[in-house]
Point group: C2
Chain length 260, copies 2
């Protein structure tokens, strides 16, 4: 009788695990306010991670454990950090090969990809890992959680059937003004809502730039502190923005949107 | 002594309530797999709704009730449907004034906005209602739930730091080819991932169009059945797509993405 061939091990699945949006904020609302139990149960079951930052991932897992016990103590879990070059240059510009980070999945172990806040690989590092998973023929399962961009878009009252997210605007004055004009022109001409973000403590500077640069009838929406108790979602024409008192927390992450 | 002025009633808040993505699908997974308890608790508390479709909203509320009891029986709730013109023409092109739909909120009653699947006002009707709420100076709170576009983007391995969603492509052959070329050119030139959707039962026709039109090295990602047990997330170069057997459910809603 011939020996049976050794079966190939089933490959692990890569789960894209969202994190709450309160990273770096003073508040830490109940995880279940913005995270489905289905997502928390998968997060609690996984033992191998690729993450933006190991420390914040451990803090997140500690919060998950308070709701549903982890399979393995945090100290015994494997956490691989994305290298600095990916944080800085983006996932694809440096030709970073993330396949070695997924070795455990090739051995049949399910893995999680997680960033500091929100959905990994959306306005955050991680897409190189997802691409590597496709190249290795792993199954990929994105899980539901809060995504600040989409919450902001829904709350903006701007066109949600045609929109773009363009990341950060240039910090330098003249370049920034030029970029704002470019995005406004695109939004007014095509009706495509343009979303962008700013680093904390620069919200008011960004607002000032916008009010100085945009046309009176352009509509501007700003969401900050999404999913937190002190969230705000404002949307009005630039003319109206200039007339009303501005309530904008400079410290919490904000999403800006312009449209018609 | 002068009579005190009658205090103005506190205005109600408009909650943007996501719905599960299984609308029109054979499966109906446990609501808690993709819906945070925080969202379900608000949905169960509300009694006044603006909705895309009253029948599907009632079906959703029935499922919410199985997890956490509704404040008011469904039959006693107030469900106002968005008019057909908004479904057809979009929220803003027809100058539809949604303010009368929010009368209850002016009287201090919290209201919910809900669409048939996913996040209202994102790739779905509802932004006119959100805009009206801003015009009426209501507080607006977007709640977390599944958003197929974002799940698909995360699972694509394509650039998630610069992306656009452009809705449906033209159905007519030559127009469609032209639009696909336009989107590919934009994606390759700027690095901005381009996402779009197709109506059920046209997924395979769309795939054929894409494979016939796109360049070999362009990357194409297709997600279908998101949040369902039989979901699939595939991402590869057009050349690879042409070489491998295509597993794509023609009936479940799909999101397409192209990029480099």
């Amino acid at each position: 009788m011939n020996a049976l061939p050794t079966p190939l091990p089933r490959k692990g699945t890569l789960y894209l695990v969202p994190a709450p949006l309160d990273f770096g904020c003073d508040e830490a609302p109940d995880l279940q306010s913005s995270m489905p139990m289905g997502t928390l149960l998968v997060a609690a079951r996984l033992t191998h991670w690729v993450c933006e930052n190991a420390k914040s991932t451990r803090a997140y897992l500690k919060r998950v454990h308070e709701i549903t016990p982890l399979t393995l103590p945090i100290q015994a879990q494997t956490l691989l950090e994305l290298p600095r070059e990916v944080h800085k240059k983006g996932d694809h510009t440096g030709n970073f090969d993330a396949r070695p980070l997924l070795d455990a999945a090739l051995k049949g172990i399910d893995m999680g990809l997680v960033s500091e806040a929100g959905m990994p690989a959306v306005a955050d590092p991680g897409s190189s890992v997802v691409r590597a998973a496709h190249d290795l023929d792993l199954s990929i399962v994105p899980l539901t959680g809060p995504v600040s961009l989409l919450l902001a878009l829904a709350a903006s009252g701007l066109n949600g059937q045609n929109f773009a997210f363009v990341g950060y605007l240039p910090q330098e004055g003249a370049e920034r003004v030029q970029r704002i004009r470019e995005l406004e022109s695109l939004a007014l001409k095509t009706g495509q809502t343009q979303l962008f973000i700013e680093t904390p403590y620069r919200n008011l500077v960004m607002l000032q730039s916008l009010l100085q640069t945009l046309q009176h009838n352009t509509r501007l929406a700003i969401s900050s502190g999404l999913t937190l108790a002190n969230s705000s979602n404002a949307s009005a024409s630039v003319k109206q923005w200039k007339q009303k008192p501005v309530l904008l927390n400079n410290a919490t992450p904000a999403v800006f949107a312009i449209g018609r």
